[in-house]
């Protein structure tokens, strides 16, 4: 059963068109990667899904047309977006960030349990639970961003460049935790990642964008085997 389906999606920044008909399909519980060079439209595709950019085409989620909805309305339907640059709420404490993540939830009792789960997933946050998010290191902020998205208990997680600006060991740890999250929660994911090695550790299939169009789509295994992918994204 398909959870998310994009077909012929276009997007604009002001008068500038950035996406020229992107398609994407994510099955329930699946994980799909978006690869591509800078400016190919990866981030914009995520924004198109979460409603933070002007779009055309068709975007359906969980059987509903979500194109044209406001970001908060998209979130209500079960999409959590970890934006590029993390989007943590700098003046709020770590715990408060997590509570904001759980804003839409009605099951109050379960929230504190999920916070504990997040702290188990990212033990570094344990000591910083009362600190302001702005005072965290880049890696900790990234962990917080992912944890906050998880707190919404979404059906779909949009993950944008979670390794950006992090030391290799840190980004590895972050992806390690996300993989565990995926296994334990079964949340579907769309992953945008410059570092294809990291991406392939997390996704079942992927699509490659160039100047706002799909140029290649396939399973992770297929793509990993292709020369041009190797050369362009896998450093080999």
């Amino acid at each position: 059963m398909t959870l998310l389906e994009l077909a012929g999606v276009t997007a604009y920044y002001g008068p500038v068109q950035v996406l020229h008909g992107v398609g994407l399909s994510v099955p329930e519980g699946g994980s799909v990667g978006i690869l591509g060079a800078n400016g190919a439209g990866k981030t914009t595709t995520l924004r198109a899904i979460s409603g933070t950019v002007r779009t055309g085409g068709r975007i359906s989620f969980d059987g509903h047309d979500v194109r044209g909805l406001r970001p908060d309305q998209v979130a209500v339907r079960g999409v959590a977006h970890v934006p590029e640059g993390r989007g943590t709420l700098g003046q709020l404490s770590v715990r408060e960030n997590l509570l904001v993540g759980a804003y839409l939830r009605k099951d109050r009792a379960a929230i504190s349990g999920d916070i504990d789960y997040c702290l188990d997933l990212f033990p570094q946050l344990q000591d910083r639970i009362g600190s302001r998010a702005a005072s965290l290191s880049g890696g900790e902020q990234q962990m917080l961003a992912v944890a906050r998205a998880f707190m919404a208990k979404p059906k779909l997680l949009l993950l944008d460049e979670a390794s950006l600006g992090l030391a290799p060991s840190t980004s590895k740890a972050v992806y390690e935790a996300i993989r565990r999250l995926r296994v334990e929660s079964g949340i579907a994911m769309v992953v945008v990642e410059q570092n294809a090695n990291l991406a392939f550790s997390l996704v079942d299939s992927a699509t490659v964008l160039e100047t706002g169009r799909n140029v290649l789509t396939g399973s992770a295994a297929e793509l990993k085997g292709m020369d041009e992918i190797r050369r362009a994204y896998l450093g080999g």
Binding site: S50, T52, R70, P71, D72, A75, V76, A80, H81, P83, G87, T88, L89, G90, Q91, L92, E96, L99, V100, G101, Y103, L104, R132, A134, R148, A149, A152
Partner: protein, 293 residues
């Protein structure tokens, strides 16, 4: 000694006027990240609305309650149809918009009610009591108590409620807050509405003493801004403490520091701000903030 204590008490009473307005500024800043120069003007408009209802024969307390509710709506409408356009844009432009709003609101009050000083009835009697040899009017005392109560309520709102958390999240980063499903637009409207209601309370508290004129809170606004900066933009307690400190210290400096005198006492809060900010950039009680102004 008697004079000294009296000066302190006088300063606290004056400080409570600044504090009332400062709380509304803190609220709007916490909820939207903006500094609203029109806050004083809107509070004056609210006081005029209450005044108009008392003239219709309504009991004072009822008139005030109506004014508080109407002000909430006015605040929300101003956010939705005016400020919304400038949210997330250049903060300087947004501040200038509030400056224009101040002129507009002041002008509306002047056209509707004129520039005459109108006597506004007080909720509290004009009797006085003696504390530690100092005389303090019941009105000042009650004003201070009310302001402290509001301060506590605000502190609880911000730190203990889901709504407060959501307001702060939206002020911090609206686009990111939306990704967690927060209805940003509605929350901004609520924030402005609350601040306007609070301004209404501030307005009716100080109107009996200052008498109602369109520019009633113009001077107080400067002091309130000083108190807000000094106390830390994020802290209701901080700004009330700072407002009181400003009121007391400027009195003491005027009387006991010959160089200052009553003409230059307005410099006292600014010198204070300067010294404190150099030592503690986040203000007395605030957490380190970078503001969108």
């Amino acid at each position: 000694m008697g004079t000294f204590i009296q000066l302190v008490v006088d300063g606290l009473a004056t400080g409570s006027i600044y504090a009332a307005l400062a709380l509304a500024i803190v609220l709007v800043n916490q909820a939207t990240g903006l500094i609203n120069f029109a806050q004083g003007g809107m509070a004056v408009l609210s006081a005029y609305i209450a005044y108009a209802f008392t003239r219709l024969g309504l009991p004072l307390i009822l008139a005030i309650l109506i004014a508080v509710v109407v002000s909430f709506l006015i605040g929300a409408v101003i956010e939705r149809f005016l400020i919304r356009r400038f949210e997330g844009g250049d903060p300087d432009t947004a501040v200038v918009v509030t400056i224009g709003l101040l002129a507009l609101v002041t002008g509306i009050c002047a056209v509707r009610w004129g520039y005459n000083n109108l006597a506004f009835p007080s909720l509290f009697p004009l009797t006085s009591v003696e504390i530690l040899g100092a005389v303090v009017s019941v009105r000042s005392l009650a004003t201070t108590v009310t302001i402290v109560a509001i301060m506590v309520a605000l502190q609880v709102l911000f730190l203990r409620t889901k709504l407060g958390l959501a307001l702060r999240a939206v002020a911090d980063n609206p686009s990111s807050a939306a990704l967690s499903g927060l209805p940003v637009g509605r929350l901004l409207m609520v924030g402005w509405g609350f601040a306007a209601s609070l301004g209404a309370i501030a307005g009716v508290l100080v109107a009996p003493q200052l008498t109602l004129t369109p520019g009633m809170l113009d001077t107080a606004l400067v002091y309130a801004l000083a108190a807000v900066i000094l106390g830390g933009l994020s802290s209701p307690i901080g700004c009330v403490v700072a407002a009181s400190a400003i009121g007391v210290l400027e009195n003491l400096a005027a009387v006991y520091v010959p160089l200052v005198g009553h003409d230059l006492k307005i410099a006292v809060p600014f010198v204070l701000i300067f010294v404190i900010l150099v030592i503690r950039p986040q203000g007395l009680f605030g957490r380190k903030v970078v503001v969108r102004v």
